[in-house]
Symmetry: C2
Subunit: 319 residues, 2 copies
Amino acid sequence: DKRLALVTGRAYPEQATETAHYLGTEVLPTTAYDFANGEMYVRYTEPIRGADVFIMQAHTQPINKWIMEQLIMIDAAKRASARSITVVAPFFGYSRQDKKHLGREPITAKLMFTLMRAAGADRVMTVDLHAAQEQGFFNGPVDHLTAMPILLDYMRDRLPLDNTTIVSPDAGRIKVSEQWAAKLGGLPLAFIHKTRDTTRPNHAEAHGIIGEVKDRDCVVIDDMIDTAGTICEAVRTLHDHGAKSVTLVATHGLLSGPAVERLKDSGVKEIVLTDTVPIPEEKRLPNMTVLSAAPLLAAGIRSVFESRSVSNLLNGLPE
Amino acid sequence: DKRLALVTGRAYPEQATETAHYLGTEVLPTTAYDFANGEMYVRYTEPIRGADVFIMQAHTQPINKWIMEQLIMIDAAKRASARSITVVAPFFGYSRQDKKHLGREPITAKLMFTLMRAAGADRVMTVDLHAAQEQGFFNGPVDHLTAMPILLDYMRDRLPLDNTTIVSPDAGRIKVSEQWAAKLGGLPLAFIHKTRDTTRPNHAEAHGIIGEVKDRDCVVIDDMIDTAGTICEAVRTLHDHGAKSVTLVATHGLLSGPAVERLKDSGVKEIVLTDTVPIPEEKRLPNMTVLSAAPLLAAGIRSVFESRSVSNLLNGLPE
Ligand SMILES: Nc1ncnc2c1ncn2[C@@H]1O[C@H](COP(=O)(O)O)[C@@H](O)[C@H]1O
Ligand SMILES: Nc1ncnc2c1ncn2[C@@H]1O[C@H](COP(=O)(O)O)[C@@H](O)[C@H]1O
């Protein structure tokens, strides 16, 4: 008979514990440590033979180390005769390097999927990939979950629906904003029109706004907040154009480098994130809400384990 | 016509520069940096289309990051239409995890070869693998070089050959010591008999000595000095048994954690290493000699590029 084994790397074990709770199970114990030269050792303390193994890891800093640990865990699971191996990477590292912009560049997102497959992964589960096309990078099934239901649920009751405008920070993300606008009963849309300075990573220049934002409560939807450079530029532009308030909503709160300082100074009303990567106490601003991704991950894992469809996780959310 | 392209990751670019010098060429420039969330970007600044690309990287700390960078460089080289891709990893990371000691362990050395292959590597060049069997872990040619000629050349003139004993710190390494003893004209051998405490990594207990060391100038040969725990135990045991002097010789000077302190206090006469990983100035003791691995790597690269045998690199060393 089938057996589910949930295991986790060391990047964010609390998330695995919480996910296990929603699944009514426990995280299987693992021995894991670093050797003196930085090489890592991992071992499953209990048998996983014949089990459907879900290997969770947060792709947070030090990101290359944690991805490598997940790869090592895949190898160990394969050699321990797991029946199936599913990589659970709530935020998928390197997903922004999904195409060549210049010659002689890597496509690192593709490489990461390739490495997971080569190590022995049968499936990959992840939340809100930077581009949905990346599902095609894995030679096997990808369970592409979305945190939109979680974020929507939270936002719905808090919005003055008669005065809200959904804002895309970027022409590339209009589709998601459209979905939000539709789900909230047909709200008006706006988007920031910008040109990106490709020679300076993590920098972008905001320019103008398409759509009406004056005296509106604006909700900016993005997939991630990394250094928050782009998004704080968007907030400034919205304020400059007379927005009444600006709320930021994103699935992945990477909050790297100057992000927290920038958000603090941005005049933003609220920041709503999920914990697809851990957000430590010291990065949590008073006006920041971090929603747990665990119910979503638990629902995804249950669907895969029970071979049910993951296509409508909105209804499948536990509790 | 054939073209050699030597490129390097950021772990130890000086070694690539020196290797290029021996090859009469230059390291091709690369753009490489870390994004704010720790993801890495790499790009070859000049064309490598049709070239035989050699991607050098030292597997030094932070080792997982530098291995990942090398994997990304392989991906970029493949997409840039390199004719062939050779990974040059003078010290091969994770090579000590080459078998399962317990159930549910990974075989991380095998995984690393698998990842390199999956990323697009055609060959792997490395020096003194922890176990020669690991060549079989790569699904393609492995150029397994040895630093023994470099180390032997240095030691030969410095030894009182009529009073030297070659010592293996470990029953597992007697074969290499035998080779040394033979190359130096049939010197006597000894080895330290020990039992390893498997529950404490980086710890080992020395016990006794098989062979004669009293009043002898002992040369201990190992593949690597990591935390130096085992080897300093060996030095102590040799002194306890009346050795006149103890010299340590190893290919890989990882010198992790307490290594330098331990070596300083060990009463050892000289430590002879190569720079298969960088050995920064602050780790260099007055009685430490670091020999360059670049001539060996250059000879190996030249042999591969010219499709000559690498089996006798002793004669093939440039200069
Ligand atoms: N980790 C990262 N941090 C910041 N920018 C990145 C990162 N990875 C890729 N990029 C850049 O982000 C852009 C991709 O975003 P997009 O154009 O929205 O798909 C490209 O210019 C990439 O070079
Ligand atoms: N990076 C490392 N640092 C210290 N010990 C390691 C490392 N990797 C593997 N080992 C251990 O070293 C032993 C392998 O060495 P050996 O028995 O000489 O082949 C095993 O007990 C491994 O668990």
